[in-house]
Amino acid sequence: MPIHEEHLIRPENLSTHDDLIIDGIDVSGHWSTFIESRVVTDYNEAIEEEISNLPGGEFIHRCWQCGSCTNSCTVNAVNPEFNPRYWIYLIRMGMESELLRDKDIIWQCVSCNKCTYACPRDVFPEGVMKATAHWLELKGHTPKSPSTIFDEIFTGQVVETGKIEEGRILRSFFKRTGQSLMQDWVITMVQRMIARLPVKMLFALGWGGVFKPRTSQWARARSAINEYIVEKEEDHRQALGLDDLVDLAKQELSPGETRPAD
């Protein structure tokens, strides 16, 4: 039996059974197509609280759904499914399952901040997008995005050593994201660098990779920065009802590796 206006129903809400018996009655065949209810049966008031406790999400409660953010959105112009206005509403009303349907595109915000300037209520939608992506990761709904992993490695290295070694960041990043170091663009870049002989830089890269230089007397700064980061991370995780705090600085170290004396 054809379903009237089938295009209005999400495919996942349709279920067909070739062989179904309900209350002893065989309802197999075309009767066994069921449309799942799309009724919202409750608001989960925790979600707005949680996201407003993450950096960028503080002003989400100001939204009155005018749509200026979506209208001005760079990503929405390319992908109409990317709708900040809608997600802000879902978060405010606690419609978690609806929000999770879009979990794999929310991170795509390019932070152009056009919405920030368009918003008449200073909701800072760009910040809300960041906070939401962060929330999805912390809650385990999405894996860490490559940019989150990059941030962690970068921050971890700065906190650990007080220095940035590009070569090491690149290698750690490739390693954690499962990418080969022998990528075409990397090879081309290194070849050209060799051709133009920035000997000193290449040497520094190699040296940094092998000896892991660090800023002298860094221990005090590191412990202060680390303390701050841990405190913030703890706040965020607590707001989301999570535990298991991660020591960000330690992420720079490989498993089993210990921190050398300063």
Binding site: V39, V40, T41, W64, Q65, E98, R121
Partner: protein, 350 residues
């Protein structure tokens, strides 16, 4: 000695008119059918008023006192006008206490009637104890009792305020916007959030009409400081399951039906024409406008004019009106009545 002005109704508009006339030395007779002055804010026990945030009993109470203590105002409570005749400058009114008074002019400040929510049975008022009106919530606050579920006195954890109950609804013959319910509801939502910190307040609306400067002080503030949530939806029905009210409707922004449990549902009731308007219309010989309020002339000639010369109108008798505007209209209508009371010779001489 000029004849007095007959003011009908002792609410904000009538009190303002009497005070204005007394200020310029003009006598008036203030007739009020209830036993006390003050009108809806006092009789219905409103809490804090918009936009002054003063308690109704202080703000309107002060106006009552000012009029009651003025020798130029003759207050007649528990009294109605039974008959009214005569011409501008020379009217005669027979009152329900048997007395007949002469008046130069009359100002009708007969106000409105709160919409009776029983007329929207699908929203559960009169069926479920925890469905209440904005007036009842005002009373919970003004009496100091606090916002509680009437069924068992518990503090509600989740409250829904339904806007446009008895307004903008052709089904029940009420096509007008009652003008102040959005602002009053935003104000009540903030009061609820202030008293009960862990109570979430949702406002279901068709449009938000917190006009003029109320936008920031009520609509924005309720969202930004008090985290009140606004959902664009006209509720279909309210039912009950155990101790929860089940609110059904469509969340228009997600295009999905909603069936949400609440502890308390508040009807933001609108302003009906005074139930006595047909009677008032026939006694005073003034026309009603199409919605049933007292008809009003344009604002460019005589302020507060009705279809009958010498009979003026002010406040919510003539359309849904805020307290501040009712007071302003009372003062303005007093000017029109004063001109008549002073007599045509004096007007011509100046």
């Amino acid at each position: 000695m000029s004849k007095p002005v007959l003011i009908v109704g002792g609410g904000p508009a009538g009190l303002a008119a009497a005070h204005s006339l007394a200020t310029i030395g003009q006598k008036s007779i203030l007739v009020e059918k209830e036993d006390i002055l003050g009108g809806a804010p006092i009789l219905s026990g409103y809490a804090r008023l918009v936009p002054s945030n003063e308690w109704a009993k202080d703000a309107i109470g002060g106006m009552v006192e000012r009029v009651e203590n003025n020798k130029l105002v003759t207050v007649k409570t528990g009294t109605k006008v039974d008959e009214f005749s005569g011409k501008p400058g020379n009217f005669s009114a027979k009152l329900s206490d048997g007395k007949t008074v002469k008046a130069a002019a009359s100002i009708l400040c007969t106000g409105f009637t709160h919409f009776d929510s029983v007329n929207k049975p699908e929203w559960g008022f009169g069926t479920f104890e925890n469905v209440v009106t904005t007036t009842q919530v005002e009373q919970m606050i003004s009496t100091g009792q606090g916002v509680r579920c009437p069924s068992d006195g518990r503090k509600p954890k989740r409250v829904a305020i339904l806007l446009c109950v008895g307004s903008r609804d052709r089904q029940i013959g009420r096509e007008w916007c009652s003008k102040i319910c959005c602002t009053v509801s935003a104000n009540l939502a903030m009061e609820i959030r202030e008293e009960l910190e862990d109570c979430h307040v949702y406002i279901y609306y068709m449009d938000i009409r917190t006009f003029g400067l109320y936008e920031t002080a009520y609509y924005w503030r309720s969202q930004e400081e008090f985290k009140v949530k606004y959902i664009k939806s006209r509720i279909a029905e309210v039912t009950q399951k155990d101790d929860k009210l089940i609110v059904k409707g469509e969340d228009t922004l997600v295009k999905r039906p909603i069936t949400i449990p609440f502890d308390m549902v508040v009807h933001a009731i609108g302003m009906d024409p005074n139930v006595d308007n047909m009677l008032i219309s026939s006694i005073f010989g003034v026309d009603l406008e199409p919605h049933g309020f007292l008809g009003k002339g344009n604002a460019y000639g005589e302020i507060g004019a009705t279809s009958r010369p010498g009979v003026f109108v002010a406040g919510a008798a003539t359309s849904p009106e805020s307290i501040d505007d009712s007071i302003a209209q009372g003062h303005a209508a007093a000017m029109s009545a004063f001109a008549l009371a002073q007599g045509p010779s004096k007007v011509a001489a100046e």
